[in-house]
């Protein structure tokens, strides 16, 4: 009798894994994600804007020299000094736009207008704005007649990048950045969200299908309904685990082999230094956050650890929610009837996702701790907290609660399932489900 659950699991598993759609999504998804992440850079690389000629009418005489001296101005921009009226300038087809700087720019810094023939660009506007701001500020400072002003300014200029070091009990230190932790946590939460909904609903729809098919009647004459339900949940869960495992291996492989090859050499040197803890902020040519992020992504051990934790919460969360979905699927005749009951599973998942978005503000707030203990929200909220290196006991307690809750939920779900699969016709209410759970 016990091996029956194994037969059910293997049927559920092989039916799904052998599907073309599974193989395609499993292999294509990481590629797609990479493309999505790389897309902005690629677009920037391949789409240089067309040449732009802007006439500058500088009535103050202060801005134009600074604009011409500005090194960060894009190459496609050419500036021409002029004093003609704006209308005449714009009548010329050669000119794409006119920048009109008022004579009284120092006292009225907003007296600047940019006339453009076609759509403006953010980069262009921001560039002009910052140059003019600098000019005005510098001129105003000059009025105070401070000696060696530019030297002083250079000296006091500071570029602050906070490196947070968390010291754990073993005395080892790990450098973390809240921003990176936040994004890593968010990525994992999103993956979990997707999996819980996708695979949870897969359990539900497949039970509804079996019920409508009436194949259930044939199966339950050899298998206890409880075994059938658990077999389906575990079988579908294994598919999810296999998919995550394949993605995990792919990402580890990429971080081990692909990342070092693709990185600019200068960046990889800094990453190596940062890894050894020997990076001096003053020498850094790259944004330290970027260096840290790359060094994290390049650390296979770190990624493997995160994937391991994610898998534990994925399995626990899936088992828990799939039990709810299974009970609902057994009770209804079609997906339309399920929509109302489904909210019992879907709303907590969405609430957890929403909360995870704000967990970065204070990963150790009482709300965050509680939500990461309650099984309805714990998988996702806890996953978004893990990258912040929270106390390990919290993680294990949360996992323990989650798995115990699954056993309890599966027990109730099985009681509903056992009655629900033979109910046809009437759309059940939550009251019906509670009553079924009480049958002997």
């Amino acid at each position: 009798m016990h091996s029956n659950i194994g037969i059910i699991i293997s049927r559920e598993f092989s039916e799904r894994v052998a599907k073309k759609s599974f193989i395609i999504t499993t292999l294509l998804m990481p590629v797609l994600m990479l493309i999505l992440m790389a897309a902005p850079a690629l677009i920037a690389q391949f789409s240089t804007p067309s040449h732009r000629r802007i006439a500058v009418v500088d009535q103050s005489g202060l801005v134009l020299p600074a604009l011409i001296a500005d090194k960060s101005a894009p190459d496609y921009l050419s500036l021409v000094a002029s004093s003609a009226p704006v209308d005449t300038l714009l009548a010329d087809d050669e000119t794409d736009g006119v920048l009109l700087v008022g004579s009284d720019i120092l006292s009225n810094p907003s007296d600047v207008k940019l006339y453009l023939r076609d759509a403006g660009s953010m980069a262009l506007e921001m560039g002009f704005q910052s140059v003019i701001k600098e000019v005005v500020e510098a001129e105003r400072l000059k009025n105070y007649n401070i000696e060696n002003l530019s030297e002083i300014m250079k000296e006091i200029e500071a570029d602050v990048h906070l490196q947070t070091i968390r010291v754990d009990e073993t005395g080892e230190s790990e450098s973390t950045s809240s921003a990176i932790s936040f994004f890593v946590g968010l990525a994992m939460t999103f993956i979990l969200y997707m999996f819980l909904l996708m695979y949870g609903q897969m359990v539900m729809t497949s039970i509804i299908e079996e019920k409508n098919n009436r194949v259930l009647e044939l199966v339950v004459s050899s298998v206890k309904p409880m075994q059938l339900m658990l077999g389906k949940i575990i079988g579908v869960g294994l598919v999810a685990v296999v998919q995550v495992a394949i993605w995990g291996v792919l990402i580890c492989l990429m971080s081990a082999f692909l990342l070092p090859v693709l990185m600019p050499e200068a960046l990889s040197q800094e990453v190596a230094l940062a890894g050894a803890g020997a990076l001096d902020g003053a020498d850094a040519r790259f944004n330290p956050e970027l260096v840290q992020a790359v060094s994290l992504l390049g650390s296979v051990g770190y990624i493997a650890k995160l994937f391991f934790m994610m898998t534990l919460f994925l399995i626990g969360g899936f088992l828990f929610f799939a039990s709810i979905f299974a009970a609902i699927g057994s009770a209804v005749d079609n997906i339309q009837d399920a929509s109302q009951l489904q909210s019992f599973a879907i709303i907590p998942i969405i609430v957890a996702l929403m909360f995870s978005l704000s967990v970065g503000n204070d990963p150790n707030s009482p709300m965050a701790v509680w939500l990461s203990m309650i099984p309805f929200t714990s998988p996702m909220v806890m996953l978004s907290r893990i990258p912040f290196d929270i106390a390990p006991w919290q993680v294990w307690v949360s996992l323990a609660i989650l798995y115990v809750s699954f056993v309890f939920m599966a027990w109730i779900a099985a009681k509903i399932y056992r009655v629900g699969i033979f109910m046809h016709g009437k759309k059940p209410t939550i009251k019906d489900l509670v009553r079924w759970a009480r049958y002997k």
């Binding site: 037969i7 059910i8 039916e15 079996e210 098919n213 009436r214 050899s222 049958y439």
Partner: protein
Amino acid sequence: MDIIKAENITKRFTGHTALDNVSVSIREGSIYGLLGPNGAGKTTLIRIINHITAPDSGTLWFGGHRLVAGDVARIGYLPEERGLYKKMRVGEQALFFAKLKGMKTSEATAELKKWFERFGIMGWWNKKVEELSKGMAQKIQFIVTVLHRPRLLIFDEPFSGFDPINAELLKKEILRLRDEGATVIFSTHNMESVEALCDDFTLINRSHNILSGNVAEVRRRMGRDNYRLTFQGDPEALLAALGNNVAAHKLSEPVETSEGVHFNAEFTLHPGVDMRSFIRCANEAVEIVTFDRALPTMNEIFIRAVEAANAGQQSVGD
């Protein structure tokens, strides 16, 4: 020996009682008819025998011991509402069901090949179920039900969806399985097939067992004072001769045959009037062509018993 002995089974759902103190005994090696109107509680009883649901009270014995979960491996159940996994291939699916009943893959494959050859459906092995017609799928379901050579077979409306030729094939297979030692429980509304196949039966109405016994015996008992007579002569003379022996009669229109004009008549005699005096009286009045006991059909018994039970229940209720 009884393979199934259900003692005082009661099963309640919210708002109604599906089975109320029902007891049933089923002889090993017999074909047993489980009859009753829709919603009477037959399917609930079958599910209890299949260990799918548990009774609220009462005991179920299987082959001398209390029914346990492991016993379902020795039971084959073909439900009335039956389906298959549509996307799965026929052979693969049959193997899946066989393994659930505890068969080894090699053993199941060999047995399946035998059955597929006997039914002439070897070509379906690699077809997907969704490509099969309803009748074809029914054959697969039948094979899956009997493959593991169960001691007890339960068929719920097995002939629905079959054309007459395949229904006959199925009937033969059921009888063959019985001859090989299996016990068959047969739930159906088709009373002709009950007369043709069943040894014993029980009639469940509104969750109560209202009539059970041996099919032939019950028919004899219920038709004790009924006789059918075909005769030549004057019907009026016959009725006069029978006088007040007859409680009720039915007379057909005259039938022209090569041997002359025949009348068919059915008589219900008063209790205590014996058959020989009836024949004597009739013989003096008319020329008897055939004389027969008029056994009620199972259909008549079904309707009579259910109506009587409902009337009785109602009068009790009023």
